[in-house]
Symmetry: D2
Subunit: 341 residues, 4 copies
Amino acid sequence: MLSFECDYNKGAHNRILERLLETNEESLSGYGSDKYCAMAKEKIRAYCGKPEAEVHFLTGGTQTNQIVIDALLTKYQGVIAAETGHVSIHEAGAVEFTGHKVITLPHLNGKLKTGTVREYLERFYGDENHEHMVFPGMVYISHPTEYGTLYSLEELKELSKLCREYKIPFYMDGARLGYGLMSHGTDVTLPDIAELLDVFYIGGTKIGALCGEAVVFTHHNTPKYFLTTVKQHGALLAKGRLLGVQFDTLFTDNLYMEISRNAIETADVLKKILREKGYPFFIDSPTNQIFIVLENERLESLKKQVKVSFWEKADEEHTVVRLATSWATAMEEIEALRELL
Amino acid sequence: MLSFECDYNKGAHNRILERLLETNEESLSGYGSDKYCAMAKEKIRAYCGKPEAEVHFLTGGTQTNQIVIDALLTKYQGVIAAETGHVSIHEAGAVEFTGHKVITLPHLNGKLKTGTVREYLERFYGDENHEHMVFPGMVYISHPTEYGTLYSLEELKELSKLCREYKIPFYMDGARLGYGLMSHGTDVTLPDIAELLDVFYIGGTKIGALCGEAVVFTHHNTPKYFLTTVKQHGALLAKGRLLGVQFDTLFTDNLYMEISRNAIETADVLKKILREKGYPFFIDSPTNQIFIVLENERLESLKKQVKVSFWEKADEEHTVVRLATSWATAMEEIEALRELL
Amino acid sequence: MLSFECDYNKGAHNRILERLLETNEESLSGYGSDKYCAMAKEKIRAYCGKPEAEVHFLTGGTQTNQIVIDALLTKYQGVIAAETGHVSIHEAGAVEFTGHKVITLPHLNGKLKTGTVREYLERFYGDENHEHMVFPGMVYISHPTEYGTLYSLEELKELSKLCREYKIPFYMDGARLGYGLMSHGTDVTLPDIAELLDVFYIGGTKIGALCGEAVVFTHHNTPKYFLTTVKQHGALLAKGRLLGVQFDTLFTDNLYMEISRNAIETADVLKKILREKGYPFFIDSPTNQIFIVLENERLESLKKQVKVSFWEKADEEHTVVRLATSWATAMEEIEALRELL
Amino acid sequence: MLSFECDYNKGAHNRILERLLETNEESLSGYGSDKYCAMAKEKIRAYCGKPEAEVHFLTGGTQTNQIVIDALLTKYQGVIAAETGHVSIHEAGAVEFTGHKVITLPHLNGKLKTGTVREYLERFYGDENHEHMVFPGMVYISHPTEYGTLYSLEELKELSKLCREYKIPFYMDGARLGYGLMSHGTDVTLPDIAELLDVFYIGGTKIGALCGEAVVFTHHNTPKYFLTTVKQHGALLAKGRLLGVQFDTLFTDNLYMEISRNAIETADVLKKILREKGYPFFIDSPTNQIFIVLENERLESLKKQVKVSFWEKADEEHTVVRLATSWATAMEEIEALRELL
């Protein structure tokens, strides 16, 4: 059975498991205060080109979004997100659980346009009754987005400028950040992100780790007593080494970028195959998620040999499905899939 | 200065203040356990034609929405509302504050269409990933809506049927319920509402009371220990008599309906005047809220003599404003306004 | 039937109802922006001797405690209170509902001793693991306390000094503040309180009002967008005039203090009677709440003619009961009670 | 440097890392739906002697307590715990964060006595004002407790009976459950726990795993849509295999029990040494945590060669410290410590 249903169906990169074994017998202090966490943080800061950045490790994406958003918002504020945003749709209300509204705005291919956000902010502050409404306290984007699309450097600069104008933090969900950085089309680098965003996270779960996301506060803006906030949310790992060793390995010898590139390269080949075979694309994604439209019958027969993700109904007879490559996809799997298509 | 900016700019109906004076020296037990609360509840039950209905008093609309929604939703559920719904826009996130998402759907003239809700529910349960999403646990409507529009009996029946099909409560925000019931065009009665809704409230603040809303659970479905929930939300009034006496008065000698009718009658005359004078209507509201489009200059000069509510910008040169009549509007005020227009 | 079970069993002072009638027809803006609120605030500031104080009106005590505490605490903080404190025991978890812990410390006659609080704070910050604990972010006291007892000026000064040393706000629940201020034994004035506390409230519900508490932030320390926070908690009254008119009346011609004195004077006579008749006191309260120990049989027979409050079981055969006088207690009621005892 | 400061300073048991390596390349479905989770659950059910038990995996102890308590409590309820309970003191308010009060009762050596709980429950329901208070909705104990002490079978039976009498769930925090089960003195087995408790967790983080706790609902009482609740709390691991493989390994060939026994055996030798050397014990713990009283000077010199945990000040000149053995402690480490003492 071939598996293209997601980018988290394999374990971890082998080097990570090896490092866990090597360091296993060491007696290390808990809660992220060990030397591997320190080393990983140092390397991430270097990759970001931001010596003053502060790095924290959490275990998963929804957890990270919940904690970062709750920690940065004032109690009467909400977070602006695209109506397709992960925090808005697919996190079981984790943000609202902490008392904050997700203020949803229309998207374009999964992206928030600066104009849309600006118009919202102007209308909000122009409304005489805005003190009876939830204050917009943050802008959330994901990069790549839910649709695999990417912001251009210019778009990020504009959104960043807008957020700074309104003095609200600009936050990037980077669950698949590596895939965005290694995409051929992108003009956005990690230092760009560290410069333009107030906080973002570098996703590990979907790129080579067993679990783990690295949150980066870019300018000494970690909320006070952040460890206490993490604990309060039930998210403080006793054996912080599990996250430290993983990220230290991912940011040694450029591993994170290299394995991210693998997902892009295998996706490129797969897209070419799909194009050649005449499968219509639902959206043109430059990263590792590929969305195509299939006849329902074709889908049923395909599903016997390949795992893919249901995305949405296109019409009565067609379905949008997602195929994802990942850090672990072998070119042989692409070839095997070519045979089936 | 004439005042048409809202329906809560006057105090209370005189009979209410008289009753408060008459009963003032009586020693009464607290927290809603007094005889006036009991009498008011009995009268409301009779008006609803539902002897088994349970009635509770709260002080304001946002408070009522927050408590009813929080008390009825399971922790992982959200409430479905029109994207223009009061709970969605104008309550400062009071619902999210309790941990629940407001799931917003498109509206038609402020109303939720059954088809829209049904499609949402079907898509939700049809989505293989729906356990990663907020469960829809309630349908919220307001009647009249934010735009002063009304549901027909047929529409309420359909929504009620849908909610019962999905086993989720159907809740009506009746902040201006009297104005809805007394509207000429309506075919919806209070017993209809008590039959079709699982819970609703009869608004007092905007119809003759100093404060107060009467929540009606229509079929022995008051959540267990509701008093404790009310207290936990900071909403339990020590001197429950303040609410009991007011609602007992409002539901004596048909006062609530009569004063509601006054708002409709004065609104009707005002609408006729506006139509004659050629003011374009933004929406056709059958109740006490009238929405017209004014040139910005005209608005500026008008505002020197009449208070009206800013609603939204129509375009660069025009503004939508709301004029509201109320239980307390005198026909003389309408005449005075006619002079100005 | 005589009623001594609480201090909120009567309506409002007559002058309040008269003022509500007099102002009833005026068209006033909503949400506390009317002129009566402004006038009341000005008068309260003058009484406090603090021109820079900021005053806000809310409807009830639990609501006020919930909102003030939630608005002032950072998300990872809790509030320190005596284990007998109202916020700890009798508010149905209204503080925890907002996500904050009530950190309870031992009391002496209902009061928090400075030494107890200091020891707690020192131990907290001395604990190497304190980042895994709830941070103490505020000190809450009630004055009078749940037992009717009062802090001395010296005690308030010490607690205030400690709070300022640790940079945490010092908050007083003044549900019965007037009774505390008018007690014979007290050396604490309203200006003292405005000087030593960061925030406190002047209770109206238990002293002459139908509902209402006046929150005073003493040094320009109202949390930003407090109106939004109040709305978010479901506590913003549309007709703010109801609170404004009441407090304006209470702080005109010294009414609040005079009617508070009535409770103290009637309580004094009642205490004298009880002492003469040999009833043992459970605690020596200098305010309007009187706690005595009764044989269960005596209590049963008494309850047929007088309403009193059950406080707690003393032992198998005795019960502690509370008798409360109030702003509305007539000396004739005391005399009638004397006959029964 | 010797390390006795806690039982989570080493990585994982080697067999766990080996199994992670062996299964690493397999393509597995996410969120706990993989075969290793299924196998682990089956084995745990067998160990519990409860085929109908339902098992779920979470990553850490505070997270587990937060989610189980929040999922089982009705919104107006709190959880009863010893005032020394982990949920009460050392979880940064994670329970209050979800809106629930921790109702603290006095302890005896870290344990809740049935009499104490019964008296509380009787007083609560006997109080006429209990609807103004937080309802006790659950009893929380830890086994071993914070002090390493254990409940006897008789004590668990009594508490269980009481909880069933009051129809509230009885929950055991088993962060160190293995150490409790392998203690020489205990008469409590895992099947006993599965019989008497409504829900409990088997701790992995402190017993051989990198992370992970196995929650057991003992009688088909998993709250509905528990996966959604876990996601809402930010605790749903995408690669559930990380937990499944670990627990499957721990419950294969009795590994969990065997490595737990190692902690007990090394602790026994250490206790004997301490006794021989005349160190006074702070409390008599039958499990892997040992509490002794040291002169401050002695402690300072000791800390240069051994890591121990500060527990609390005994007096000005003495400190209570905790030494913990674990699943990973080697007898050589005990010998090395003997030399130093």
